[in-house]
């Protein structure tokens, strides 16, 4: 009886858990199953396989927490100098490293490819008096404390977007009453029930609630208006020249062998042009945001500097 139960347990763990033992590439997904990074990693490798670019085994590890810094630290420990070791990460990791004083330095890793982006939108309740970003910024300027704004975790891209908007509007970032919410869904409920004056989240999370008529979208952080949200002006159109994306990408292990690293950059470059990947972007509603190799490295360095400055202005890091 018990033996059979234990066997079931083992079989379940084997079947549900790790996947093939003969895996050729190890991929660190520094988030819980079901989240954005998990989806990015799994979908990208599925598309690599469907497009016939990389068809060998893949061994995924999910280690979530702290904006990906826990997973990346583990990756650093187990994979430094190894070929065929990759990790998924994104814009949120950049801020999280500085906030948690994490020992990780993104510059140590080898940048493979930036894959996707999701733009952010600012929303207010449907019955709110604000109809433009300028209306909102004017009231924020008059009394920042009385107008709480919500979004993702402190120091995350949502927070950065609000901080940049405040800076453009001449409001001291440290005066903002930014309240982190645990999910986009909670941000929406808090906007609707009046706890928050405004909220920030990814377009995919807010679009449907705007369609339901519960919230109004005042602005999007993309360079051009979104095709699915033709009536929402960009921040730049509204007079605040800000462009910000919640991007996701792939890193190789620090000290990965040059030929192996070049091979992965090449594979992801092929992926970005494949129909399989375009189909994934289409169904998931992700934007193509491809950038490979050292260019991506330069982009990471630039993001680290921008976000670091905003976090300092917000009084979140010293």
């Amino acid at each position: 009886m018990k033996l059979s139960k234990t066997l079931i347990a083992l079989a379940m763990t084997a079947a549900l858990g790790t996947g093939a033992a003969s895996a050729q590439v190890n991929v660190m997904l520094p988030a819980a199953p079901g989240g954005g990074w998990d989806g990015t990693g799994r979908q990208a490798f599925q598309a690599l396989k469907d497009a016939g670019i990389y068809t060998d085994g893949v061994n995924f590890t999910n280690t979530g927490g702290a904006g990906g810094t826990v997973g990346l630290a583990e990756f650093l420990g187990t994979s430094t100098g190894q070929p065929d070791a990759l990790a998924v990460f994104g814009a949120i990791t950049v801020g999280a490293i500085q906030l948690n004083s994490s020992p990780i330095n993104l510059a140590d890793f080898r940048p493979v490819a930036r894959l996707t982006a999701e733009y952010l939108v600012v929303a207010v309740a449907a019955d709110s008096p604000y109809n433009t970003l300028a209306d909102l910024v004017a009231d924020l300027k008059a009394d920042p404390g009385a107008h709480p704004i919500g979004g993702g975790s402190a120091g995350g891209v949502d927070h950065i977007a609000v901080a940049l908007l405040a800076q453009e509007g001449g409001i001291p970032v440290a005066d903002l009453n930014y309240i982190p919410q645990t999910s986009g869904a909670e941000t929406v409920t808090a906007i609707v029930n009046g706890t928050l004056t405004a909220g920030v989240s990814g377009t995919s999370e807010f679009a449907q609630f705007a369609e339901q008529g519960r919230i109004k979208l005042l602005g999007v952080t993309a360079a051009e208006r979104r095709t699915n949200l033709p009536d929402v002006p960009t921040f730049t159109e509204a007079g605040y020249p800000i462009e910000l994306a919640n991007w996701r990408g792939i890193l190789a292990a620090p000290g990965a062998p040059d030929d192996n690293y070049a091979q992965w950059v090449d594979r992801f470059t092929q992926l970005s042009k494949s129909d399989a990947w375009k189909a994934v972007l289409e169904t998931q509603g992700w934007d193509d945001y491809f950038l490979a190799g050292e260019d991506f490295g330069a982009f990471i360095a630039q993001e680290t500097a921008t976000q670091g400055k905003v976090l300092k202005d917000a009084g979140l890091v010293n």
């Binding site: 549900l16 858990g17 079901g34 599925q46 583990e74 948690n100 645990t182 995919s204 519960r214």
Partner: protein
């Protein structure tokens, strides 16, 4: 009666042989993962997400629904028989259920759990069918102050009701809150109580604590008392099955559990833990057999088991009607919808009625399937208790370690398991109740976030905490919980 017609169409979809098969697969899988500690419905569905590329959406969601309901059925089995909750939603079941099993009434406990799950599942599915849009609106009325008052009430009632002394109850509660604080503070992004250990940044997983306190602590306790304990567990032969009296004592808790579980499941953060706990507290207050609580009261199994199944249906309400995920499982289900390029919400009811109503109809079918699966199994499960204790507990330990390892494959988790297991043993020896630790761990972070959100939004004015009618009322009840018993005692002493 348009709903009724749509539901009938849904049944036409759900009884197609291929969909019936997926419902069965889901129910079986759900029951198994419910029994296994560590693997919950959220993780299982997440790991099954890749199959959505090959499976038709209706079939996939019918299977996922089976997993969701099945986990609630299965979780009760190990709680009752082995005092090791397989699921967070079934931890309250362990309190009374395991005592019943030791008193030779395991079969009755399992039966009331299975029947209660069935009754609650069916009523909640009916409510989901006919009242979903109205209930979904609740989510938009609850403010941070209301949530904070709700958690405060839960803290006070649990610390006072559980165990023999309120001092011990509160100490247990605060231990739980302290464990809940470990990790990154979600409001400021700063690490707390991590002592420089990287792995602690992501916090302590509830399942690890659950398994350690119940399984490891219990095992150490039994091992330490083994010489002086009677050699065999309570015999299971000739056990009384479900008697008329059991039924008479169970049906009201089933209904009350459903009433608590369904709307709570629909609220963000409600999940299945809070309703089971509130149901337990309520049954303990209302029971005419108060003296049996803590020694195996059937009401204490019937209520929470009904509540957790009703909550499982409850989480589908805001998910399907608003596209609002209120728990981890719901968030994974949302990801599954998005994999198909579907966005749950009011539009899905009109754009894809076959999927939605097929899913709802399959919930009815899955419920019947689970009852048919689980009732005959009761006889087999209770045989577990005939295994000699050294082997049984060794088995549980192996089982628990596989579960914890399976969570993240992390050595840190195993180390935490050892430390908390030892703590569980000490608590057991000195008669500290375990449930408040778990309540503190689950609700502590939620209470903190809501408190800070409420205060930040109110610019630091504490009045906002009682500014809504609901928060005011709940706070008063919480105060009464604390103040009334000692007052009564003093009055009685003076009289």
């Amino acid at each position: 009666m348009q709903t009724f017609g749509l539901l009938l169409d849904g049944f036409a979809v759900a009884v197609q042989p291929v969909n019936l098969m997926w419902a069965l697969v889901g129910s079986l899988l759900g029951t198994i993962i419910g029994i296994l500690p560590g693997i919950g419905p959220a993780l299982t569905i997440a790991l099954l997400l890749p199959i959505t590329t090959t499976l038709e959406p209706t079939s996939a969601f019918i299977m996922f629904a089976g997993i969701l309901y099945g986990a609630m059925y299965g979780g009760s089995t190990t709680s009752i028989l082995l005092n090791t909750p397989g699921e967070a939603g079934s931890m309250m079941t362990a309190l009374e259920g395991n005592k019943m099993a030791r008193a030779g009434r395991g079969a009755a406990a399992l039966t009331t759990a299975a029947l209660g799950s069935f009754v609650a599942g069916t009523i909640a599915t009916l409510a989901l069918t006919f009242a979903a849009p109205a209930i979904a609106e609740l989510a938009f009325y609850f403010k941070p102050a209301d949530y904070f008052a709700l958690t405060t009430l839960a803290f006070c009632s649990v610390a006072v009701v559980m165990g023999n002394s309120r001092t011990r109850g509160f100490i247990s509660l605060f231990i739980g809150i302290a464990i809940g604080v470990i990790g990154i503070d979600s409001m400021s992004g700063q690490p707390r109580l991590t002592f420089g250990v990287m792995q602690l940044l992501r916090g302590v997983e509830l399942t690890v604590v659950l398994v350690s306190l119940f399984a490891v602590g219990e095992m150490l306790y039994v091992a330490s008392r083994f010489r002086s304990a009677p050699a065999a567990m309570a015999s299971v032969k000739g056990q009384a099955w479900f008697t008329r009296e059991d039924f008479a004592r169970s049906w009201k808790p089933w209904l009350r559990g459903t009433l608590i579980g369904f709307p709570m499941g629909a609220l963000p953060g409600g999940g299945s833990e809070i309703p089971t706990m509130l149901s337990y507290t309520l049954e303990r207050k209302l029971s005419r057999h108060k003296d049996e609580f803590g020694h195996g009261a059937i009401e204490g199994v019937a209520g929470p088991e009904a509540a957790n199944n009703a909550a499982a249906a409850g989480i589908l309400v805001p998910l399907l009607t608003l596209g609002l995920p209120t728990s981890a499982t719901a968030a994974v289900l949302l990801a599954a919808f998005q994999n198909y390029g579907l966005q749950p919400g009011p539009f899905l009811f009109t754009s894809n009625p076959a999927l939605i109503w097929g899913l709802i109809a399959s919930l009815y079918i899955g419920n019947v399937m689970l009852l048919v699966l689980n009732l005959p199994l009761v006889g087999i499960w209770v045989q577990l208790l005939r295994i000699p204790r050294p082997q049984l507990y060794a088995g549980i330990l192996v089982f628990a370690m596989i579960g914890v390892w399976g969570l993240a494959g992390s050595w840190t988790d195993l180390a935490i398991m050892l430390v908390i297991g030892l703590m569980g043993y000490v608590m057991r020896v000195y008669d500290f109740p375990i449930a408040p630790v778990l309540i503190g761990l689950i609700l502590g972070p939620m209470a903190e976030t809501q408190l800070r959100t409420a205060l930040a939004a109110g610019q630091g004015n504490p009045i906002v905490l009682v500014s809504t009618p609901l928060s005011g009322t709940l706070m008063v009840i919480a105060l009464l919980f604390l103040a009334v018993p000692p007052l009564l005692r003093r009055l009685r002493a003076n009289a």
